[in-house]
Symmetry: C5
Subunit: 354 residues, 5 copies
């Protein structure tokens, strides 16, 4: 199945304000989890229905609202109403094919990026969409399906009474994006280990599976690079953004994010180069091996050509063929043939042909 998300015919001409889910359903049920915290206190709860949204947000605590599943249009409408988010933003949230981007709106900042997941069993990558909305003292994160990716962040919030509890929704967004980008680097590393391990199979007899592995890793690398490139662009824009929703003291972290995404991008460049080199080595090894075989076989054949000619000569039926009647004629023929062979071997050896 294709990993590229295609435009559906019926989506052409759709209003940019229509709250219609444009992806593939990856989860059965939409799950809402709220985490409210300040320096002192952390409370976590799972919201049962979208009604729980109303009446929330009286406290001054920072709220992290995480939503797994993007196909609940009713929930989106409620969110729009409660947090005063423009509908065209939420319409983008519901489109997992959207390109990574950052966009400011009246009441906040909207960020979307792809999270990569590496399936070690099949050696294959998949991408999930992550959308973040930074508003006053709430961060809303939207994932296509539930997962444990952000568990370390939750742990940091639960355990440490420090910056992450007090630096606002933008710092929390940075922390989530940092996990996503660190994951890029981590997956680069895993793929990289596998790619470098191929080197060991590169000597001796090359197996056909090696070529398949190289090609498959190349395609995974390309898939990853396809997602890193627009994410890099997005993070660059985020770093330059002048917005009241990004605190000046957190600005430095977004620059750090830039360094990280650059590192991810360069790593993937390096591994891609290594893959191309391996491909070249594979092909040139294959052709060298074939050439060696051919050389040896050709020389083998060539040595027999004059021998076969000689026995042909003594197989003719001429009445006056003198050697045939000699006493040691047969021996004589063998002497000639052995001499011929030795001369040829010496000649080929001297020419370094084998």
């Amino acid at each position: 199945m294709s990993r590229f998300i295609k435009k559906k015919k019926e989506d052409i001409g759709l209003s940019p304000y229509a709250l219609v889910f444009r992806g593939q359903k990856k989860t059965d049920k939409t799950v809402l989890r709220a985490m409210d915290f300040d320096l002192e206190d952390v409370t976590e709860q799972e919201l049962k229905s979208t009604d729980d949204l109303i009446g929330r947000k009286k406290s001054k605590k920072l709220t992290w609202l995480n939503i797994d599943g993007l196909d609940n249009a009713e929930l989106m409408e409620n969110l729009a109403r409660v947090f005063k988010i423009e509908q065209n933003i939420l319409s983008d949230v519901m489109n997992p094919a959207a390109r990574p981007k950052v966009q400011e709106f009246d009441n906040g900042i909207f960020i979307t990026i792809k999270m990569l997941h590496f399936d070690e069993k099949n050696d294959s990558l998949s991408a999930d969409n992550l959308s973040l909305i930074i508003t006053d003292n709430t961060l809303i994160s939207f994932q296509e399906q539930s997962g444990l990716v952000f568990e370390p962040i939750r742990e940091r919030i639960r355990k440490h009474k420090n910056k992450i509890r007090t630096s606002g929704a933008d710092y929390l967004a940075f922390a989530l994006l940092d996990v996503v980008v660190d994951n890029y680097i981590y997956i680069n590393g895993i793929l990289g280990d596998k790619i470098e391990a191929l080197e060991n199979d590169m000597t001796g007899n090359l197996k056909k599976e090696l070529l398949e592995s190289i090609n498959s890793y190349k395609s995974e690398m390309n898939f990853m690079r396809k997602h890193i490139k627009p994410a890099k662009e997005m993070i660059l824009n985020l770093g330059k953004m002048e917005s009241e929703f990004i605190h000046d003291e957190n600005r430095i972290h977004f620059r750090e994010l830039q360094d990280n995404i650059n590192e991810a991008s360069e790593l993937s460049d390096s591994y891609r180069e290594i893959l191309y080199d391996q491909l070249n080595v594979y092909h040139s090894s294959m052709s060298t091996k074939l050439n060696e075989i051919m050389s040896i076989l050709t020389i083998f054949s060539v040595i027999f050509i004059p021998l076969t000619f000689i026995v042909g000569v003594y197989g003719t039926n001429f009445e006056n063929l003198p050697e045939v009647h000699w006493r040691h004629g047969y021996l004589f023929m063998w002497v000639i043939m052995i001499l011929t062979t030795l001369v040829m071997l010496w000649f080929f050896r001297r020419k370094k042909w084998f």
Copy 2:
């Protein structure tokens, strides 16, 4: 027939103000359709003659004037007069080979872009020109031939009492351009499906048609990329344009358009890469297959070479050839030959030559 539009010799040196049709006629008759609407009301009518243009536009309603067919110079002159459009703009409208561009003039904005159409029967793309003129409360769209591309937009106007009825000619222009760009992505997807389907023919015996398919999709992809590139440039310029004819609240949609065209561009990059990979895989598979055949045949030949030599030896007519006179001489020869064969097979096997 070439899909590139060529400059005609007689068009060289033509004044940029001359209203001369410079393309190939694709429609018999020029069709004018007007759609007037505000939040409350929608009326549609087909204008019979260019005289109907005069006297229009007294109401405050937004008007969408769609013209199919570009070769009616008289109509263009009337349009120029009625809507105060400069002649050099309309001269560009009549040139379907014009490059996608956006241009401001005294009374509006002129936009031109290519619409792509994919003919599933022949697996081939064609391009039609679309020109848009945004003026005060009228949008004029020019197409080379009639089609149903914009029907979804008409439906949205007819059915929904929302933004599209009230946000002005620039929003309507955005909606049309969005359809065009969505169509790029959609066609990318169709072509992409076909390209990815080629993978299945990539294993086992490769057929010659596969190579033809790859090459043909490559040429279609290049054709598409050729049109997407300047369109991307144009939309970028549109997004940066400071004009009274683009409302500030619609500006965001033009940025969305940029994201879409970028996605189209990246998709086409991805598929192009896949095609190149397929080409490489095809060629290396072909040569691997050939090499395998050659290896086996060569080894087969090589095994017979010493055997043929041996029977040659015993075909010589030496009087004193001892083995010939042995009782089991013939059997002896066969034993020698079978041993030779086995030794060679063992040697080749050990060397992993087959």
Copy 3:
């Protein structure tokens, strides 16, 4: 002969003010033609001697002075004096190897560009230098040799009482440059037709001449691209130039020129790509054809190898060779050989080797 103009040893270290002709003479005699016109009136005359220059330009009419032949240093000096043009500008005019550029000076604008000419007989391109000097109400154009390239412009001036007669020297310069650039597109089209026609020779038996054609068109395409690139740069600079000699209302035409040169550039990109694709198809077709021949011949040879071995066996002179003495021994041999052949054919067929 090389189409690249080389620096002569003696020109190294020459003052940028020296009025020395640095090209190859392409015309016998320098021809001066003056065209004076306003909305009402057009007069044309050929100037006999450089003295005619003096005393000209009393009227307010727009003058187009066209000079064919660049080697007349005396004329250049007179021009410098009469029109107050700096000597280093005219020194550039006399250097046909100069790179396309635009340069402002105290009394005007200096523009130089290459005109391309396609010789259909030899399928080869050549380049001529065109220099333009825009001064107050005079346009001076310098060509390396006489030609009919600008005849359509002259016709427009003679026949139409419109913008071209009244919009100043800059508009006239635009019209001339537009002819040059339109010519680029036109030649691209001619070459393009020839290139696309090659496709028909691409099937069946490939001829060696096809490769030569592809290589020759590639070299012509490169020659053209070499001239289009700096011209594009020059026109971009012209479009951005803030000068009193370019009227604001004509500025739009220089932007149109940019679109045209971009189109020329993209067309040549497209055709170059097509040529590269053709080259690839040619080479892969050639190698496919060769491989097919080799496969068939190899299989043919391989089938005879065991047969030749078999007849060799029965050609041995063993006294106790039983089959030789059988009644149907000869027939028996043929049966064995035919069976061997059939088995091999069946095997190769099953393996899809032919």
Copy 4:
């Protein structure tokens, strides 16, 4: 073992303020060396414990604090307290995988770059991280392990009473960076010598080791380029930085650094090109050699083919084969065979086939 530093799974989601060592330990013990100097005086001492840090820096002397080993979190915390360095800076110091970058903070400038080391025995490069912190009148340098790289700078400080003693921490930082970049150029030179020496093995019989050498140098070159590229970017940013910690009179040196890193980058480009050229020459030489062998062997075989056929003819058992009964039949056969051979040799010679 891979030379790319991988992200550890447990580091994902780590706070940017956590002082955790994220690399591989390369040294047993953290060593602190302080060098205090002004124009008159130089004192050097090795700090025994991190307590020695407290109470330092009362004098107005410039201090260079060098720390070998990055895994001492306690030391880092003390440094943060004493020199008022933000924790996220020191967290970066402890991450040797960090990308070269420059970053300003409240009390200074933080710079990180990679030092390259060439191991002549294994012909392989390795990279060590160098971090510099420029504060008021102290330069702190962090290295992954002890080494003699900066000994020349120490000597310059000890021996010469000049600019290096008086121009502040930024000039000292420049001097250290200059050593690092000079080292890039130096290593480029060493590798370059080895690469150019390969040319000598390029003639005559090519050895397989040659290919291995080329590929190995190519991979080292790529490793170096991977580190030079972001360093170039970093130095560019440093040169443009407006900071109170960089004295205007030292600004020129940072521009010099840019020239040096550019030279390093261009050198590595040149050597990479040479390597690619060598690879091409190697492959084309190999295939030329193989083709020559094949040509000669083929011609040798082809000459024997008709000869073997002729002896086959006279080996047939026809009763009425006339030549067999001739007196000089055998001689006649040899004459025919020798003539055939001569004609073929003459023909091949004329065709320049060998």
Copy 5:
């Protein structure tokens, strides 16, 4: 010997103010020549010792001080003192490996560029460093060795009472740089002639020396391009420089220099492309030739295969082989063989295999 200048180990960590010669000595003795001139008068003298420097420059004349040989540290120190040039500038002058650059300092402008020299005997390029220092009314030029490159400029100063005598040190610097860049174009032309001459050897039998020539010119072209690229950058910076030492009326000449260096750069691009094309044509010609030979030889062999089989059949010793006993059996065999041959030839011909 390598043409790349390598960093010496002992130069790492050197102060940027140290006046140490960092290149290879190319001249025995440092030669100082002074040329003083104004519109009226020109005097030339060779300075005997560095003491002559002191006491110079009382007149208002423009002085051109040319120094051949860079290894005289004492002279450099005197120059620094007399003309108030900063030591780090002169330190750069003494480093012939320095990258082309332009740098402003308190009392002038420092420019460094490479002069190329083409040795026609060995068809090889070499590079010499040229440094220029523009101060108030003196131009100091530093060359690695004596030569006649600037003789045309000296002649212009001696003979013509014009701009070159009166336009200041910056105009003189422009004139020298112009000679250097004109020389680039000139050498491009010489190399280009040789490259284009290779085309004639491209038809018929290709010689091995042709490949060597192509590769050697390619390496020379790369060497030249390596020096042109940073020179282009430098001249661009020079053209944009705001400095009191560059007169506004001379600014136009530096823009002219840009055009020239661009032309040099584009010429070298063109010739590089031609070389790559030649390489491709060479390789494809070689392989076409080889394929042709192989085809013919293979067909020749294939024709003999069934013939050899047939004579084998009649060489068998079957008692009941009927044809052997026929009267015209031998003739019959020949008829069969000739028919077989003709059928095969006809078949191969029809298939266009030879």
